[in-house]
């Protein structure tokens, strides 16, 4: 039996934003559809929309309630949901990572939990490029996925109060890159010099949802 994808949900988020959600759990399909819908909104703009924010399984649209009524915006959204969703052709990035040691204090533990050596973990982790699933949580913080089932681990039990910008994080079948100092419950497996947040640059981040990322041992 084929499981049909969930119907997109169009939901008001307060009186100045609407969220379009393509699934209630994170998977490849919902994420691709969210990124695709954000791309559709770039080519088929909705008058009155002042910000489009793609996320893991949803897209936030902000509008000015003094100018637009929510019914009108929702109508325009539904028109565009009937279209075949675009696939955004993202840029490709190579990201060098220093794995283990002080740069990645959880590497050995992660490999141990997966019952493989650290070397084998790095090889499997870097084997195929990942997609940038979304930016979120903190400035320039990106989620990349998905790893195969053999590389899926839950988060740590304890949250680290602060890990430095550039930390490469691993959990839930994903690798994330911290672009600022943040608290995290993810496993810290390495560190990269790749900086994804520069407030002086326009745009201030380099990685976009839909881009492809190849991790390499630095």
């Amino acid at each position: 039996m084929q499981i049909l994808p969930e119907r997109p949900m169009v939901q008001a988020l307060g009186d100045s934003a609407i969220l379009v959600r393509f699934g209630s759990r994170l998977d490849e399909n919902a994420n691709r559809r969210a990124i695709g819908f954000a791309a559709t909104l770039e080519s088929e703009e909705i008058a009155g929309i002042i910000e489009v924010v793609p996320s893991l399984v949803s897209v936030l649209l902000r509008y000015d309630p003094l100018i637009s009524r929510h019914q009108d915006i929702e109508g325009e959204i539904r028109l565009r949901l009937h279209d075949a969703l675009e696939e955004r052709a993202g840029a490709a990035h190579g990201i060098g990572v220093r794995f283990g040691g002080e740069a990645g204090p959880d590497l050995e533990e992660v490999a141990g939990l997966l019952k493989i050596s650290a070397e084998k973990f790095m090889a499997q982790h870097n084997a195929v490029p990942l997609r940038v699933l979304a930016t979120g949580f903190a400035p320039g913080f990106v989620y990349c996925g998905f790893h195969p089932d053999a590389l899926v681990l839950p988060r740590r039990d304890k949250v680290r109060a602060l890990v430095p910008a550039g930390s490469v994080l691993f959990a839930a079948g994903q690798t994330a890159i911290a672009a600022t100092d943040i608290p995290t419950g993810w496993h810290v497996i390495g560190h990269t010099d790749f900086s994804n947040f520069d407030p002086a640059a326009e745009p201030p981040t380099r990685l976009r949802a839909g881009d492809s990322v190849s991790f390499e041992v630095a």
Binding site: A17, E51, V53, S55, L60, G140, P204
Partner: protein, 339 residues
């Protein structure tokens, strides 16, 4: 007219803000901006609206010294005690301060946030198009941080005639001479007079921070909570806790509305200011202007734009009830401006 200000004392969370840094949520950066946007605007009108940025202070206020030059300053938001060189001033109001003048703003009878605006612009760089401090992203304002004692701020050239600001006839040389004639006290704009020829209408009148339910629209995960719990949510009183900052305000759930709720961790979605999130232990938290860009806790509703300023001015221990309204109503309130 330009000035150099020295911050002599700063309570917690004193920061430079402007209307906000909008448009960067996709990069993981929320807009920041004043917690009480209406009061921020009114203080700007009082100061002559020469600059887009101002200083937001929290309950304990701040003291500053004009080290050089002179500047018109306007204040509003909540009810604070304010004095210039030891002389009590009214709240809200505006004053021309000159070198050697000391402004003291201290805790008053109501509100969490007050605003100090200037006749000119605060001389800090634009970061991503805004001077607003984001303490979360550590950008904007002065080095992306809260202001503290010892900080020096430049206020640039005034764009408007200062005599007009004081309601003085610009041709009255005697008046001008008095202004320049020394440091014997501030020149307070006569109360009820016009500022820069703009009569302060209802818009600019101080809003009382008083009762009335906080209105919200049902949220993304309202259904997750079930009918009975939703009914309890809108019929129970909550209290503002002392755990509040620009990122969020925790509520005390004394009626134990969410005590039994099974809070699921959800896939992260974008969040907006005013979202009422329920944390894993059942604590409700209302997201502030420096909110995270995304969140994975269920949200039962979102406070309507018209009630955000009033909500953020509610002090710790204040009791509040939530009243659901429809989107049409929320948007009509904004358009009518009667909020």
């Amino acid at each position: 007219m330009a000035a150099t200000l020295v911050i002599e004392r700063a309570g917690p969370l004193v920061s430079i803000q402007d209307a906000g840094r909008f448009g960067y949520l996709a990069h993981g950066i929320s807009a920041s901006g004043p917690m009480d946007a209406g009061a921020f605007k009114r203080a700007g009108v009082l100061a002559g609206s020469g600059g887009a940025a101002g200083i937001e202070f929290s309950m304990l206020g701040l003291d500053l010294l004009v080290a050089e030059g002179e500047a018109v300053m306007g204040w509003d938001g909540g009810t604070f005690e304010v004095s210039v060189n030891g002389r009590t001033q009214s709240w809200p109001s505006s004053v021309l301060l000159a070198a050697g003048d000391r402004l003291t703003i201290s805790a008053g009878t109501g509100g969490n946030y007050g605003y100090l605006r200037f006749g000119g612009e605060i001389d800090v760089p634009l970061v991503m198009g805004s001077r607003a401090t984001s303490m979360r992203a550590r950008i904007g304002g002065l080095d992306g941080r809260a202001l503290r004692a010892g900080d020096m701020l430049g206020v640039t050239q005034h764009i408007t005639n200062r005599r007009a600001a004081l309601g003085l006839d610009p041709r009255a040389d005697a008046g001008a001479a008095a202004i320049e004639g020394g440091n014997d006290g501030p020149r307070v704009k006569p109360e009820g007079s016009s500022v820069f020829g703009v009569r302060l209408g209802n818009d600019a009148a101080p809003k009382t921070v008083s009762g009335g339910p906080i209105r919200f629209v049902w949220g993304l995960h309202a259904e997750v909570f079930g009918t009975e719990l939703r009914e309890k949510f809108v019929t129970s009183a909550f209290r503002i806790s002392s755990m509040m900052d620009r990122m969020g305000v925790r509520l005390r759930d004394e009626a134990a509305v969410f005590a039994e709720a099974r809070i699921l961790s959800l896939v992260s979605d974008p969040v907006v200011v005013g979202d009422i999130q329920i944390l894993g232990d059942g604590t409700p938290i209302v997201l502030g202007r420096d909110h995270q860009p995304t969140g994975g806790y269920p949200r039962i509703g979102t406070i309507i734009s018209a009630d955000l300023d009033r909500f953020f001015q509610l002090r710790p221990n204040a009791e509040l009830v939530f009243a659901p309204v429809g989107l049409d109503h929320a948007q009509a309130l904004l358009r009518s401006g009667i909020a």
